[in-house]
Amino acid sequence: MKKPILIIMIVSLAFLLSCKSESGFFGFGKEKMATNKQKFSGTEGLVFEFFENTPPKEVYEGSPFPIGIRLFNKGACDIGNPSTNPPSNPPDSAQNAGTPHSELDRCSSSIQGFIHVGFERDYLEVYLGQITSLSTFVKFDEPKQRIVFSLKSKDIQDPKGGQDLFTFNVKAKDLKTLDPQTELRDTVMTATACYKYKTIATVDTCIDTNVFDLTKTEKVCKVKDLSPSSQGAPVMVTKIEPEMTPKKSDPKTLVVPRFVITVDNKGKGEVLDPNHSIIEGACSSDIPVSYSNWSKVIIRVYIPDPDSPSKLAQLNCAISEEQTDENKPKEGILSLKRGVDKIRCGYEKGIPKSKGTYTTPLIIELDYGYTESISKKITIKRVLTY
């Protein structure tokens, strides 16, 4: 080997070694979640799967076998109310708003998640109907034939997110009783999860009261479109387009900041109305789920109150006309079409021009139900005697 190449290789290796930190090379293998930013990253909420070989791909008729479903909450918000992380009251309105950076406290739900396990009863039957789980947060709701669960989100202590596993046994029926000549049959086991979830996106946005650049002052920031990164939930805010418009009633002194927010379902499942009964109904035939209940996301947007920065001011996302009544609900409803929708939210009270140009956090909260299904094919084989 030629000498210069060897030298280059040794230097490169030395450089790589010098990059080693406590958390590994270039930070790979880092286990601990250092910041909230990492908590609110990713496009997954609940991730669930059939545990390896439960059910097996092939079983023999008449034999019992286990079904195991493993649950992970890889998102930023809790599902239900796991006791280790008791949920605080959700900020349903501006009155309940906390500090701008208290997302961790707000990101929980009082509604538990549901899982409906479906199987073809011609082929399978529940065997010794016991459901066992790793924790007490997974229970079988026998009257409604569903599994109810709560699962903690990922956090600083648990960067992988909460996880659980529940198992139960089923038995393959005898094929001969179905059909004397059949040798094998395929059956499908499905599991549908329905849960309430929340997306919280916090971005720094620029408020510019000098709309027409009439005063030649240097601005600290510039109004521009924002594309937030993932937010630790399957439904995310993908784009924010700010608009600064003079207030109609007082264009000389007040400016209304408005934001066109694009919401996109990046997960594998479907979005539901966050209403408890609707979420429950999606996993059962008991409660009808109508057209209007699907793909529905409730959006709440906050900025720090310009008058009292310690409090949050909710933007009006139900813009039909300028809202002066502070008591009217300001939350908006997005109806996703092919997973995407846009909404315009504005601080209709207006910001005095005297405030100039400044950067402020914009907190967007999406509230929705989410449902997703998985399935696995099982081949039931007949015990042949020839």
Binding site: G118, T177, L178, P180, Q181, P288, W294
Partner: protein, 846 residues
């Protein structure tokens, strides 16, 4: 090193390539083929060609005969102007040597000349003009083709075939493997001459014929013989018969394709219009485990059979079903074998061994049973036959169709949101297809596209009833025939009911479904209780059916059965129908929707069906029967028709009667007669009364022949031609006796008179034999009329003998038109001898 032809040829001498003139050798090759067919020419017999000292003789004649050298020198002279002599000389030498050998060593016959002419045309219009081959190579190729044409068939036949019988196919003869036709067509296609597409089609046709020869296993028996100079006409006929059979099978195959395409189109149309329900065969753990009954390894026991030996076809019956272990319900198989004609009709029956397979064999477990289909000696006349082996058995096929149900509002909502309702709930098999167990019948099941929307809540403008259907199609899957459908049942989950409204239900009777074709059946149905008049087998079958219904009920299924009357009607239509479908309406009222769905957002249910039926599978195999010219068939009954052209031998006494046949034992009767019908002159079965009539007839006929001779000599035979009867009359007309006699042709007249005289001798001999039997039996002694009849008989025969001899002598001694025959003296002595014997007979009569 390749020759650079450009070096020798000027541009004007360059060959134009193979042109449309190449059709000349193609057409001539067909003429040669027809010539071979009629003349049976097949080249040299190799064993005779290379007799002792062949090579020495070959060299000596070569030296003695200057033609080879003259040709070669002449060729060299002509070619030396244009082509480099050195390159072309060896090829030319090879060609001249080959042609020389054929011409001067036994090949200069008409057949040889035709084949050499063919070779010349092929060379001249094809090889010579082919730019890609070149002149030297062309000569070598034509020399090789001539060698193959004259020697190859013989070489393979006499040297290779005994060691490798499979080469029979290649030894063939030129009828099967027409060398020149194939070579001409191939070259035409290869050089893309004008209209070469026709040549391609012809080649493909020949290729298909070959395939069918193979498929029918005709080739081996057909080509074990060679259609050459030593071949019998019978073998040639057999070859042509086999070719005919192969062609007929090819035609049937082509017809079948058309039928299948048409059927497929009809089926597709029915499917499109909703009358055909699909399905696919269920997978098995091991695809080699074939469920069903099969006829395997069916083949002729020999390449050919002689008519005086048993012809047999072998095969294996293989059967397997998963519930074969069910001792109470074995599968019953019956096998038969027939000779069938082109229309598929049975013309001759064979016998199946072992016998129990013919009468009905019960298979309890997986089994392979070898069988043999036999045709007795002389049962089949020489020729090629198609033997059909058929097996009838009862079988069942089970099918199921998975379908999904959902709240209609939920499904609509999801669809409006562009979400697939089934995908949303993890259903991967979104358009399930019915599956059925392997067997001779396809059992398709169909329904509306899932999920079927159910009304959980009342909806405006709707009564809340979800309407769907379940359709069942029964279609033949295997080659064979559905003899009868013995039962068809549809099973639905108890929460899903068939609609009985307006389906022909008669008041006061059970409800009926599917336009009255089906009825619900339970374990307490009449058919299971009224079993007094049933046979044990039927009872067992009913028991199994009942057990199935009970098991289905336990699993939550209702069973609906096709009505027996409808089934009988449908069975009549089965033979002609490509398939049969039934469709039943399902109605799920709002009140039942919850039950159907249960707690599931998407509920899965199964529609099931099973059909039990009698099926017949069949396989065909051709057999070749050869005649045995040396041996005449020994008939076993007096009234059996002799079908052999060589004649048959009569038995001592018939199997059906102790009485001897009319024709005595051991005597030969001609084809087309029976031993009872053919009146042998020496038959002892002839009664005295019959003998009297026969003698009268013989005497009359003899006198007629004498008159015919006299008239012929007088130049007027027409007036007496009417005296001749039967075959004699036909012979006379065929040989134009009238014209001959009229024109008095000296060369042909003795032939006519000689034939006539031979007939007289034969006829008189017959009369003599009859008289002899009459004397031997002595029946006349008890005749009521006394001895008068016998004496008359004797007198007639003696006088006729004198009359005949007198006539012959007159013919010889005529002054004008005297005709002498070679056998005159011998014939006269023969007649006199028998006349003397007749005179001696009845000497004891008073």
């Amino acid at each position: 090193m390749p020759i650079d032809y450009q070096r020798y040829y000027s541009p004007t001498n360059e060959r134009p390539g193979v042109t449309g003139l190449a059709w000349i050798p193609i057409i001539f090759s067909v003429v040669v083929f027809l010539y071979d067919l009629t003349s049976s020419f097949n080249g040299f017999r190799f064993d005779l060609f290379f007799f002792k000292d062949f090579f020495l003789r070959w060299v000596l004649t070569l030296l003695a005969n200057g033609i080879f050298w003259i040709s070669l020198i002449g060729y060299m002279f002509l070619k030396s102007r244009r082509v480099g002599l050195r390159e072309d000389l060896p090829a030319m030498a090879v060609l001249v040597l080959v042609v020389y050998t054929i011409l001067f060593h036994g090949g200069l016959s008409s057949g040889g000349a035709v084949h050499l002419a063919m070779a010349f045309l092929f060379y001249w219009f094809v090889l010579r003009d082919s730019n890609e081959i070149g002149p030297s190579k062309a000569k070598v190729i034509i020399a090789l083709l001539i060698l193959v044409d004259f020697f190859a068939y013989g070489i393979i036949k006499y040297y290779a075939v005994p060691a490798y019988p499979i080469l029979n196919f290649f030894s063939v003869n030129r009828i099967f493997f027409p060398l020149w036709i194939l070579a001409s067509l191939l070259m035409a296609v290869r050089n893309k001459i004008p209209g070469y597409m026709y040549a391609t089609i012809a080649l493909l046709g020949i290729f298909f014929m070959y395939m069918f020869y193979f498929a029918n296993s005709v080739i081996v028996p057909l080509y074990s013989a060679n259609l050459n100079d030593f071949m019998t006409s019978e073998e040639k006929t057999q070859a042509l018969q086999s070719a005919k059979t192969a062609f007929q099978n090819f035609r049937s195959w082509a017809k079948q394709i058309v039928v299948d395409v048409r059927k497929g189109f009809t089926t597709q149309l029915e499917y499109a219009t909703g009358g055909y329900y699909q399905g696919k065969v269920e997978e098995q753990q091991d695809p080699r485990n074939k469920i069903g009954v099969y006829l395997e390894n069916v083949q002729s026991a020999d390449t050919h059979f002689f008519e005086n030996e048993e012809a047999s076809v072998w095969g294996d019956l293989t059967a397997r079903a998963l519930d074969f272990g069910d001792v109470e319900n074995p599968i019953n198989v019956k096998i038969y074998c027939d000779i069938i004609n082109a229309q598929g009709e049975a013309v001759e029956k064979g016998t199946i061994m072992p016998k129990e397979l013919e009468t009905g064999y019960s298979i309890l477990l997986q089994e392979q049973k070898p069988f043999e289909c036999k045709f007795t000696r002389w049962q089949l006349a020489p020729g090629t036959y198609n033997v059909k082996i058929g097996a009838q058995f009862s079988f069942e096929t089970y099918g199921f169709l998975k379908t999904y149900f959902m709240d209609i509002k939920r499904a609509r909502a999801l669809r409006l949101q562009h979400i697939d309702p089934l995908e949303q709930y993890g259903i991967t098999e979104r358009k399930p297809i019915a599956k059925y167990t392997n067997g001779p019948i396809n059992l398709g099941i169909g329904t509306t596209e899932p999920p079927l929307g159910l009304y959980i809540e009342q909806e405006e403008g709707s009564d809340g009833t979800a309407i769907s259907y379940v359709g069942v199609t029964v279609q033949r899957a295997w080659e064979g025939m559905v003899k009868s459908i013995d039962g068809l049942r549809i099973q639905l989950p108890k929460v899903i009911k068939l609609d009985d409204e307006g389906t022909g239900a008669v008041a006061g009777t059970d409800k009926s479904y599917c336009r009255g074709d089906f009825h619900m059946i339970g374990e307490n149905d009449k058919k299971f209780t009224d079993t007094d008049k049933k046979t044990d087998l039927e009872k067992k079958k009913l028991g199994k059916e009942k057990a199935n219904i009970i098991a289905a009920a336990k699993e939550g299924y209702d069973t609906y059965e096709l009505d027996k009357k409808v089934m009988t009607e449908e069975n009549k239509k089965l033979a002609g129908a490509p398939f049969k479908s039934w469709r039943c309406t399902i109605k799920i009222p709002q009140a039942d929707s919850g039950k159907v769905l249960g707690k599931n957002p998407v509920a899965t249910h199964f529609y099931r069906a099973n059909v039990d039926y009698t099926f017949e599978i069949a396989k065909q195999v051709p057999i070749l029967i050869k005649s045995v010219p040396e041996e005449k068939k020994l008939l076993d009954k007096c009234n059996v028709l002799c079908t052999s052209s060589a004649g048959c031998i009569c038995p001592e006494q018939g199997q059906d009667t102790k009485k001897a046949c009319f024709t005595p034992k051991g005597r030969v009767i001609p084809g087309g007669t029976t031993c009872d019908r053919y009146k042998d002159c020496a038959s002892k079965q002839r009664t005295f009364e019959e003998a009297k009539i026969d003698i009268e007839n013989i005497v009359g006929y003899l006198r007629a022949l004498v008159t015919f001779n006299e008239n012929c000599l007088a130049g007027d035979p027409q007036s007496t031609l009417d005296k001749l009867e039967g075959t004699d009359r036909a012979q006379a007309e065929k040989d134009k006796w009238v014209e001959i006699c009229k024109e008095k042709k000296p060369a042909e007249l003795p032939k006519v008179l000689g034939t006539s005289q031979e007939l007289m001798k034969k006829m008189y001999d017959c009369g003599y034999n009859i008289v002899k039997v009459v004397d031997g039996k002595g029946e006349y002694r008890s005749a009521k009329t006394g001895y008068g009849d016998v004496k008359t008989m004797q007198k007639n025969m003696i006088e006729t003998a004198d009359y005949i001899i007198k006539s012959w002598n007159e013919r010889i001694s005529r002054t004008e038109n005297s005709v002498k025959l070679q056998n005159d003296v011998a014939d006269e002595n023969f007649i006199k001898g028998e006349k003397g014997e007749i005179t001696r007979l009845f000497s004891a009569i008073p």
